[in-house]
Symmetry: C2
Subunit: 440 residues, 2 copies
Amino acid sequence: MRVNGSGNNFGLQSANRTRPKTADASGKGTVKKSFANRFSVFAKAGGDAYLLGTQPKTRSLTENPLYHIIDSDEGPVWESTEGFTVDIKNPKKASKLHGMKTYIAYQITPSNTGIQVSRRYKHFDWLYERLSTKFVTIVVPPLPDKQVTGRYEESFIEKRMDQLKRWLDRMTTHAVVGRCDVFMHFLTCTDEKEWKRGKRDAEKDDFLGAAFFNVISVPNTPLDIAVVERQHENFHKFVKSMDASMAQICQVIHDHGKKHIGPFKREYQKIGKAFTELAGSFELDTRPRINDIDAPTEGSQQLTDAIKFTGRTYDEIGELFAAQPKNDNYRLEDFLREYTGMLSCFPDMINFHKHTISTVRECQKQREEQKMEFDEAESIKGRADVVSYTMMAEINHFQRQRVYDYKMMMKDYLVEQIKFYESVTEKLRIALGQYENVNV
Amino acid sequence: MRVNGSGNNFGLQSANRTRPKTADASGKGTVKKSFANRFSVFAKAGGDAYLLGTQPKTRSLTENPLYHIIDSDEGPVWESTEGFTVDIKNPKKASKLHGMKTYIAYQITPSNTGIQVSRRYKHFDWLYERLSTKFVTIVVPPLPDKQVTGRYEESFIEKRMDQLKRWLDRMTTHAVVGRCDVFMHFLTCTDEKEWKRGKRDAEKDDFLGAAFFNVISVPNTPLDIAVVERQHENFHKFVKSMDASMAQICQVIHDHGKKHIGPFKREYQKIGKAFTELAGSFELDTRPRINDIDAPTEGSQQLTDAIKFTGRTYDEIGELFAAQPKNDNYRLEDFLREYTGMLSCFPDMINFHKHTISTVRECQKQREEQKMEFDEAESIKGRADVVSYTMMAEINHFQRQRVYDYKMMMKDYLVEQIKFYESVTEKLRIALGQYENVNV
């Protein structure tokens, strides 16, 4: 199972960048803090330069748009592309520096190439870094947190792999991210030299941040800035509200899972023990006869056995309680945490868009005061519309995914809950059956 | 509903006698304490005088036996008698001394007379006092405790009436107690003068305590004292063990009921609230259109509704949890407490029988040392056998009842538990159904 991974890090540093944390079980949301404290992503990503048209011209900027937003029945959306899936499996513990350093390598196979590549967590981390720098108004959810201790335990590795798969799935189903060069490089490159070249290319990408808007085509219709503002406010409210609800439900579902494993299990096992001990007392039943002592009657022994069975039943129900969270609560929790991660991308996006809207409003004002030429203002408004259209496409994409994903998840949760209570009922029914044959 | 009950107390004092408490939710048993601290019931009930044949002869003692113990397939038992049942209903709040004193009067109708009588708690208490004085080796379970506060609340009155009915049922199904004069007097007397006469008669009963053994006939076979001793020890062990198990199970079942009403209800309602609030956030969904804002899609609204429904479902499941103990835990608890009360009678009975056995052993010794005549020793042994036969009949009666009652109670408990988990499952199934129609 070991792979000699010497030199296998493709020249990457270990992942140690700070990224927005997903909401944790402390029940605090992430969005509010992000809005308040974050250094304006707008300035950092070159929003001003893009909107005002002062970006340095590069060769690439003259090329045709690569990505298209089209209008649809459900509003502006990314033009859909051929989808593909990824398979991730066989996490292997590998080492380098003659065993001084060990790590886990995941084997990834995209359905569109069928060729397996081997990637470490730090490769994912590098990819995340590139994608989140490149796409300022596209949801690039954070990776699962880097684990410091216990990261070679089998259960952890399985769970981590599952989280990475969810993350990859989220990326591959996105019409833009799933097609971009750096992502394809990550999914397909098998050669170390090629990897380094691709890595260098990605790191000097001309279409990072606001520059990326240059390669997007949008519908011709100019947007009404007042409507854009209202859309913006509505979505902002939605995100804040959803973030708060998610923090709460994560907490409740997490706690409920813990109760299943601890106090609920103990509670039912206490009942089981009480019945078992009662049966133990009933076992001492003897019937006095004339000059003789008789064992318990058949009926008495049958009752004792039935009560013992009932005791075991409640004990087993306790075990069912403890085994249940992995089927429902923890799965729901993982799902909710993934969405919390996705939500954590919106504050930056909303922030960027807010600055875009302000810039348009400022231009309008200057235009009204005749401090700005009509053409210049129109050209700024045109570029701002690209940002707004991107936001619209992202919001529509997110909401569509949300409805689909929550429908599936809620069904899954309820199905598992039903199965659970059915198992409890079935156990009790079998216990009840033990009393049918007690002769009295 | 009020009855003028002036003079209706038939000359009785209020019940305020101390009686052995039933095991309470503190989880402590009653039997051990009773064995250790109680003044010997043997001396008090005239055990010595009876065994040694030094009782004062009364007219009554020359009469024929009234009660018969016969041998059966299941050992010595009381000869069975025509059974009857009692109906108890219409508890009426009545008053006397021009409304200065109020009390509850229960209307009791025995099936063998069909004539209704009206009785207060203190009449029951007087009856209990007479029966427990009269029958030293027969189980006369304590009455439900006298309540000081809240005793006119409807729920309390209903519960008290139910407990009194159980107590009466326990008495009527006993071949001796159900036929004795004082009990029949209690169940049938409707006239105040008659009541007072019956009360006086009962209080100067010649067959109280050990004297009662004079009116019992037993099988001719003399008992083997060594076997009697072993039977005695076995039953003593059984009672101690059952008492301890009962204290534990009462506690566990009581606590479980309280958890249903408190923390379990809150737990499920917390989940309900979390889903409801999530649905509240999802309600804020709006889809950005070109120069327009659209309401959530049909699918989005359907999902929101389904999640709201799920929230209500968990809230209702919380209510189901809170409503459940009255169907199972509290019923089981009442049943267990009744048995704890019955068990509390055994220490005195065992104590009495233990002294009887010692007396026989002492006579044997004196006989061997030729300090006692053969005839005298035989005559003492004959009387001791009546006590032992009575114990045997009582033990066999108790064990037979126990098997029957616990079978019924356990079935009842499990049936209710099954119904409960089925209701939960059914609610979840309906909630699941809400997702079928969510268009994605």
